[in-house]
């Protein structure tokens, strides 16, 4: 206890130096916490809209559908839709059918991916459809189609116009059917706007000669973080259907997951560099304070302090510095996070085109969300760094020879 008091007093004998070191430590902790939380918020948002438009947080496929997207791998969901819907934490189960084909108007033709969905189930979930009214949705078995705005333009169509979709049936025959432009969506993602063609699932299945079948059951959860709990339950449901596989969103949408990982890795790299630079500053501070006290340490050794005690003293000084920096930095980091979540950063001030990342459009206002476990972890890491910074100065202090130190004035 006395050693803590002595260390605390020593910390403040060079007030300005200690304050500058504390400022560097807590400022960097603030930046790491604040900007991690910002990324965390943006990624969560991206994952959220990504999974809702894409495969869901968890997804069921037949065998290797995910690898080649071969439309052969369709399956009859039987009771799965209602069984999965009944699991705890599941918000919705979306059966979907994906059929590559050709769309033709009287003037143009384009390759498309005909997507068969349950319009009413998708409505509240799928961000592509959320701006449509109930009347603008297609029916399950009708000929109404929802088109991406670019596709509409390229085919030179207008709402209400008819067009023909041609695709290969399960038995190999080519089939063509007529659809009508019922509504148009603009997602902001070029590829989606160019190829989106949504129709009722039963119509699409009948056309492809595989009534009742689907390619994908997208499972949307109430809370993204619940995927670990729900995943085994989902696998248990698939137990007696070995040809079916459950995947999580990051396996099913490797593009999105990799884009996030890459982005976060580069950010982490900057965090690490910043913390290293700050640590070097702490080493410098501690080393200077040891060197300045060369004679004082000599006196302490002479009156009976052991070298171990001097080393511990240096570590305690670093520890206290780290604890104060941890507390201050976390307070600043929380304030920054609070600001970034309440106000956010409006990217429209910087860029005016729409924002697409890893195949997902995101809100132009980036907002942080709280990642408390990470904030604690990084604060603890800062304390460890302060202690690590004390290693060399403590070794130095432990090497002081009293007779030599006392000759210094």
């Amino acid at each position: 206890m006395d050693l803590f008091l002595l260390a605390w007093k020593n910390l403040w004998r060079s007030r300005r130096r200690t304050l500058i070191t504390l400022a560097a430590l807590s400022f960097s902790l603030m930046l790491v916490q604040g900007f991690h939380n910002l990324s965390f918020g943006v990624y969560s948002e991206m994952i959220d809209s990504g999974v809702r438009a894409g495969t869901g947080h968890l997804v069921v496929y037949q065998q290797d559908y995910v690898a080649g997207r071969d439309e052969k791998f369709s399956f009859d969901p039987q009771k799965l839709v209602s069984q999965i819907s009944d699991l705890d934490g599941v918000e919705a189960v979306l059966p979907r059918l994906y059929l590559p084909g050709l769309a033709q108007s009287s003037r143009e033709s384009r390759g498309i991916l005909l997507t068969g969905v349950d319009p009413s189930a998708e409505h509240m979930i799928n961000p592509f459809l959320k701006n449509l009214t109930a009347e603008q949705l297609p029916t399950l078995s009708g000929r109404e189609a929802v088109l991406g705005s670019r596709l509409l333009k390229e085919l030179q169509l207008k709402p209400g116009n008819k067009f023909v979709v041609t695709l290969q049936r399960r038995d190999g025959e080519l089939v063509s059917e007529m659809f009508r432009v019922h509504s148009v969506v603009t997602t902001g993602i070029k590829n989606v706007d160019k190829s989106l063609l949504l129709v009722g699932r039963e119509r699409a299945a009948a056309m492809a000669g595989m009534p009742g079948e689907v390619h994908e059951l997208a499972v949307v959860l109430q809370d993204q973080r619940a995927d670990r709990q729900v995943f085994p339950l989902l696998q248990a449901l698939l137990h007696d259907r070995p040809q079916l596989r459950a995947l999580s969103w990051d396996e099913a949408m490797p593009n999105l997951s990799n884009a996030i990982k890459l982005d976060y890795a580069s950010q982490k790299f900057i965090f690490v560099i910043m913390l290293l630079i700050v640590t070097i500053g702490v080493i410098n501070t501690l080393l200077m304070s040891v060197m300045e006290r060369f004679r004082e340490f000599g006196v302490m050794l002479a009156v009976g302090a052991s070298t171990l005690r001097l080393r511990v003293l240096v570590f305690v000084e670093a520890f206290l510095l780290g604890v104060v920096a941890m507390l201050l930095g976390s307070i600043f980091g929380s304030l920054l996070t609070w600001y970034l979540s309440a106000v956010g950063i409006d990217l429209r001030d910087f860029i005016d085109s729409s924002l697409e990342f890893g195949g997902v459009v995101f809100d132009p206002i980036m907002r942080a969300s709280w990642d408390l476990p990470y904030m604690l972890q990084i604060a603890g890491f800062m304390l460890l760094l302060s202690l690590a910074a004390a290693v060399y100065p403590a070794i130095k202090a432990g090497r002081i020879l009293p007779a030599e130190a006392l000759r210094h004035h």
């Binding site: 002595l6 403040w12 006196v299 002479a302 009156v303 009976g304 302090a305 052991s306 009293p402 004035h409």
Partner: protein
Amino acid sequence: MPLIELKSVSKIYPLGNQQVVAVEDLSLQIEAGEFTVLAGPSGSGKTTLLNMIGCLDRPSNGEVWLDAEEVGQADSKTLSQIRLNKIGFIFQSFNLVPVLTAAENAEFTMMLMGIGKKQRRQRIVDLFAQLGLQGLEDRKPNDLSGGQQQRVAIARAMAAEPAVVLADEPTASLDTQTSEELLALMKELNREQGTTFIFSSHDPLVISHAQRVVSLRDGRLESDR
């Protein structure tokens, strides 16, 4: 058996590719309760000798016996234990830890020994009264005069009741009157508590107070009276 015994002690410092013989083949016995001054001109080896007696440094040759124990070749951990338990130190100046108050400085060795706060405080109250330091307990060293600082250093040296107090030119930075007062104090402590004192000094005033004067020249014993 004497409290301190040096047997043909030498101390040789390497200096570049030369050697400096600071103390050469010196033998000396000091009994418990003595009040001894090591006298001699600058560079004669006083500090070197005190450092070896005080377990701050090891002799190059010879034996150092302290309290019936050969300490000349002990490891640094043992030496630091001996310094803590048996020896009190007073230096010429900058003796005190500047961030600690006078009382905390005086308590320092007792704290190292693990003596409880209450007991420490009681001891400091007594010592400060004896040394005329009452009312200065909470002052920082920088707010004390040179003489007061030296008295705090004496309090620290005496606090843990060591067998011997070593003082390397304790009055060299003080004026004559303050030096006189300080010497009178130490003499009193020596008389009343029987603590052994060994000084180094080239100040005739200090030398005149000594019961025994050991004179050094060029690292050798010149006279002992």
